[in-house]
């Protein structure tokens, strides 16, 4: 099959498909579409080299709104498809688009194994804490007590923390962004694409129809600076409208402190290090309102990818040049020749 490389498009609009997205007006998926296409344009990825593989759910309609290659698969299992695609086609930029129900409920098993294998895939988890396409049932990330069509008296399940799960399973790149913060989204998507290995990005996005306001405390622009903290590599973890609050360790537990009070200075605070697994995991356990919600890149480490390990095995096990490997395989160790009929 011919694979020509055309000139890369230069504008984010060049990556958009011909049809308008059929998401509810005000849906958090719209800004993500902007963020993803902006990252494509910034990195100048040729359109035909992008393959977006999605599962089932509102967010999984994503590929239809792009002018790239796209495969809309089945509920919960886009990562398996992406695995086979990326293994055989390492030349492609492969993006998985999945939702909270898709990735963490019906596809929970695949989520775990995709993270641990470290394929060079960008994994976008659209987390709106609700089943939207099926019209409003509790999801695995719905907060305890969430009232929905199937949790009429409030959800009694504890929610999954996607970042904690991804980190524990071995994600080498793990980040969280808000649908309302296009600048960070674009930057994180670019970093995700550049990262060699699995790049997991949890996107907190608002479902205007079935869970509107679930993210208000962290996504609202006025409240965001007090209720979230943007992680920056090498910098102390400081947040607040006045940049006067921080996080330090008290024994094995992080605590929120105010700079200047009780003699606390920036030197007492945790310094973010994306190479430190323990720190990334600890940060993944912080949630508003007990603590500010951390955003940005939690973990970023270089480890051999699935394909790199595979290529290494193939380098060692490949047939020698000129060897009739197929003939040898077909004959096996126990063959014989019959000379006359």
């Amino acid at each position: 099959m011919e694979q020509n490389t055309a000139q890369p498009p230069c504008s984010r609009k060049d990556y958009l498909g011909a049809i308008d997205p059929k998401w509810c007006p005000g849906c958090g998926a719209f800004p993500v579409l902007s963020g993803v296409t902006a990252a494509f344009a910034a990195l100048e990825i040729p359109k035909e080299k992008i393959a977006v593989v999605s599962g089932i759910g509102c967010s999984s309609r994503f590929p239809y709104y792009l002018d790239t290659f796209g495969l809309h698969t089945i509920h919960g299992r886009p990562a398996t498809v992406a695995m086979g695609l990326k293994t055989t086609r390492p030349d492609l930029s492969v993006w998985v688009v999945s939702g909270d129900g898709d990735s963490l409920s019906i596809g929970g098993n695949h989520f775990l194994h995709t993270m641990r294998r470290n394929p060079d895939i960008n994994y976008l988890l659209f987390n709106n804490q609700i089943y939207g396409l099926t019209k409003g049932q509790a999801s695995p990330t719905s907060a305890a007590g969430t009232i929905s069509k199937t949790s009429v008296y409030g959800s009694i399940d504890m929610p999954v923390q996607p970042l904690s799960l991804a980190l524990t399973a071995g994600a080498t790149f793990a980040a969280r962004v808000l649908d309302s913060d296009l600048t960070t989204m674009k930057e994180v998507f670019k970093q995700a694409e550049r990262h060699r290995g699995i790049s997991f990005v949890e996107i907190l996005f608002n479902c205007v129809t079935f869970a509107d306001g679930a993210l208000e405390a962290v996504a609202d622009k006025k409240k965001r600076s007090d209720n979230t903290v943007m992680l920056k590599a090498g910098e102390p973890i400081i947040f607040g409208r006045e940049s006067d609050k921080g996080i330090r360790m008290k024994g094995t537990t992080p605590e929120v402190v105010t700079l200047g009070q009780n003699g606390i200075s920036a030197a007492d605070l945790l310094v973010h290090d994306p190479a430190d697994f323990n720190l990334a995991f600890l940060l993944s356990r912080l949630h508003y309102p007990a603590a500010p919600l951390p955003l940005g890149i939690f973990r970023q480490v270089a480890q051999p990818t699935y394909n790199e390990r595979l290529i290494e095995q193939k380098r060692r096990g490949a047939p020698k040049p000129g060897e009739d490997a197929l003939g040898k395989l077909l004959r096996g160790p126990d063959f014989w020749e019959e000379k006359t009929g």
Binding site: M1, Q3, N4, T5, A6, G17, I19, E48, K49, I50, A51, V53, S54, I56, P63, Y64, D67, F69, G70, L71, H72, T73, I74, R77, T80, V81, A82, M83, G84, L85, K86, T87, T88, R89, D91, L92, N109, H110, L112, H113, Q313, K314, R316, G317, A318, P319, A325, L326, G327, L329, L330, R331, G332, D334, F335, W336, E337, E338, T340, G341
Partner: protein, 624 residues
Amino acid sequence: MNALPAESIDVIRQPINKATIRLAGDSGDGMQLAGERFTAASAIMGNEVATLSNFPAEIRAPLGTLAGVSGFQVTFGVGRVHTIADEADTLLAMNPAALRKNIPCLKKGGILIVDEDTFTADDLSKAGYAENPLNTAALKDYQLFPVPMTKITRESLKKTELLKKEKEIDRCRNFFALGLACWLYQRDLKTTLQWLDRKFSRHPEVAGANKIALQSGWNYGESTGVFPVIFVLEGAAAGREPGFYRRVTGNEAAALGLVSAAAKAGLPLYFGGYPITPASEIMQELSKLAWPDVFTFQAEDEIAAVGAAVGAAYGGALAATATSGPGFVLKTEFINLAVMVELPLVVIDVQRAGPSTGLPTKTEQSDLLAALWGRSGDSPLVVMAAQSPKDCFDVVVEAARVAVKYMTPVVVLSDNYLSTGTEIWRIPELDDLPEITISRELKGKDKFLPYERNPETLARPWVVPGTAGKGHRVGGLEKDLTGMISDDPKNHQKMTRLRAEKINNVTKEIGPLTVHGDPAGKLLLIGWGSTYGIIRQVVEKLHKTGMPVACTHLRYLHPLPEDLGDLIRRFPDVLVPENNMGQLWLKLRAEFAKEYIRNLNVVEGRPFTEREIEDAIIDRLKEK
């Protein structure tokens, strides 16, 4: 080291043209291995072979119990051997449990060799014998030869000091038994000796000990004078075409078929699998290949295995997965996606007795309806079945060829009997394989449309990511020519019809049916899958005696061959033998609406016996 029968001992050399031997022991006794080596020796001596393995689902059931018995039966002959014989001429039982479980498979008057050292009170009781059958009249219908196999093996190896522990020495008993069996049927020891050197090249002491045990078994037969008769295969050999030959199991053949089809098509091979009995060997065989263009993926589950294959197919690889019943149903939703997006995919189902976990190591043909119709929606795909171990190669190549030409999943039905059964196979060259044509984009079109169909096949073009200017979206939702979502009811009707018509077009790929027996007869047997050998053997035998009976065998189960209807209408009576409760029978009744299509069903986890087919034919012919 190999010896010819000594002239000094007075032994009768009885000429035969075919024989069947069954080797049985505890699952740790290595009887499968002994059986395989006996088969290998026979194959290389120019005999035709057919084998049946019978082993427990548990790796090591408690030692000496009935549950732990493992058996291997091989039929070998100078003429054509279509299938294993119902009953063995010789049974070699390594313990009381093996005797008890296998004695029904030995024909009356047959040779029964047992390791008498294992007939202890403890092992007799584990096998459920109140009295030692070697001391009663229980075995009077057979020619019984109790042999102190354990004792002789220990004695002959103790002096050599090759193996230190008695336990290790006792593990060589299977080679003593093999040596004795080889003497009885005059099988050349050379291939086995060479194999031992190769297999245990890093453990020469193990190779050496087994060689001694093998020779001791042979010598016991030759020098003790206990056995009055040895059997010598005589007669015209099958007359093999010149070329390279080997033995192959169904699962090996399937794996080799995948690799060869990909090479022929010039595509990388991607195989996604998940361990399941009796299909795992296919993945294991492929895992040995670290070739740049062969990818084997052990997925986290059956669903991921097929999902990854779908992803690889989307990227332009020849993609395949293999499983058995419980895994096959798990894969259903992804197979349906492949039907809907129209991507090529080979799905091998090595059937075992079901439903659910069923009998994991026993054979059955009961996934046919699941393959034909076991998906949501109107979801047509191609279904074909292998008829013998070596045919697994040809069917897999055919499945790959049809999959990439018609852009469809193809289900290949094998079964437990074929997967472990052995057959002699002429090794093909790549040039011997049929050409593989990939469904490409039509020439001379202004605009690329992902669902614009080839007018001849109705297949859509396989345009993969990376192709500049051809970006498009496909998915499980109903779509129009552009691949974009369409919920237009008229479009859905049209697409449903087109998907079905495309699969019906595959009839063009099916050659004319072959009929064996009496083409103008009164009764036609229609079989599919692993029943090929037994049906043909019985039909040809009865036809020779003058019975008006014929048979045909289906490779394609969907679509059915175009000439099948005419053939059915030519016969006043049709019988469909299957190792299920009548699945092909149901399909044939539905397609051809003939009440005289009758069924014959056995679901005992084993292939049909000759007797079962023969009796059914005679009954049907009597009734008419």
